[in-house]
Symmetry: C2
Subunit: 199 residues, 2 copies
């Protein structure tokens, strides 16, 4: 897996997506570029355009996979959290922090404004499934209306995304800044927001 390996043979399309995740995690969406991905893979800057017509399509593919993996991570965390609906939704907040800290592909990538016009049914499906999973977790916490469930999902995501962004921007002091620490705090905060009086 050396840096200079050529991808004459393998599946460059998959490798491009994989390396895009690495670069997103390392440098964020801000500095993401198709050219840097190609460089990292040791292929020419033109090679990616055989597999993706433009930058947005590559990011769209990354976005779809991120939405799917994020949904799975959230579902797994909810299942690991036990039967209490509030605990299950709160666990989604912690899972979000961990997934996005590891991959750099959070809401800002999944729902990136620059991908808004992109026609990509696979991505649409994954983003919708992600939101459905979150709404189901929220609805399970009580006899809430759809609007209330949306608000609760948004609050949970806001907490998770806020902690994740501050972490990515290196706002937290070194000592208390492991991913698991931040994830635990995001989870705890979400738990309080979901059911302030409960527990």
């Amino acid at each position: 897996m050396s840096e200079n390996r050529r991808y004459h043979h393998g599946d460059l399309r998959a490798a491009l997506i994989e390396t895009s995740f690495l670069l997103l995690a390392e440098q964020g969406l801000e500095r993401f570029s198709v050219a840097a991905v190609a460089r990292r893979l040791g292929v020419s800057s033109a090679a990616p355009y055989r597999h993706f017509p433009d930058r947005a399509r590559l990011l769209g593919a990354v976005s779809a996979i991120a939405a799917r993996d994020l949904r799975v991570a959230i579902a797994d965390a909810a299942d690991a959290a036990g039967p209490d609906p509030a605990d299950r939704l709160a666990a989604a907040s912690g899972a979000y922090v961990r997934y996005v800290a590891r991959t750099g592909a959070g809401i800002h990538v999944v729902y990136a404004a620059e991908l808004y016009d992109l026609q990509d049914d696979g991505r649409r499906e994954q983003t919708r499934a992600l939101m459905t999973t979150l709404l189901d977790l929220a609805s399970a916490t009580g006899p809430r209306s759809y609007e209330a469930a949306v608000l609760l999902v948004e609050a949970t995501l806001a907490v998770a995304h806020g902690y994740t962004s501050l972490y990515a921007d290196r706002f937290f002091a070194r000592r208390s800044s492991t991913v698991d620490d931040i994830a635990a705090r995001a989870c705890e905060a979400a738990r309080i927001l979901i059911a302030p009086s409960g527990r």
Copy 2:
């Protein structure tokens, strides 16, 4: 105040900072460029470098002013919120949303990683004063340790920054997406986090 006005005469340094805020609010830190600021002001791309040696220094000046104005906005909101310490700190969350939605200059600008090495005493002073104001508001909510106050400030900022980021990324549905709506929700969420049992 037309687009084509020349700034031969006036205070270009101040105009550069002012226009930097406009561009940050319009396009975010991601797309901020010195060249675009110069273009907007109708001066050459070289002109800004008579007033700021490089891009980081211009952003540093913006950062210092943002920290100062944000601190004032937060202090004013706290005073308007009344005597209850929890209400006062929660009001900081709403003030953050409103200020950053208007100016684009939030934590990610004030504490931008790319400005970390910047030697700028004025900016240091403003960022420190901002944090002091927040820590004072947090400490007033109860007999907390310094560490607990830091955690509370971080939670308040995480909520505010999360809502603000989601708003900036156009994540919220059109209908419920006025700045004041989002600010109110951030304030309410912060209020719950600060004193879940209170009120």
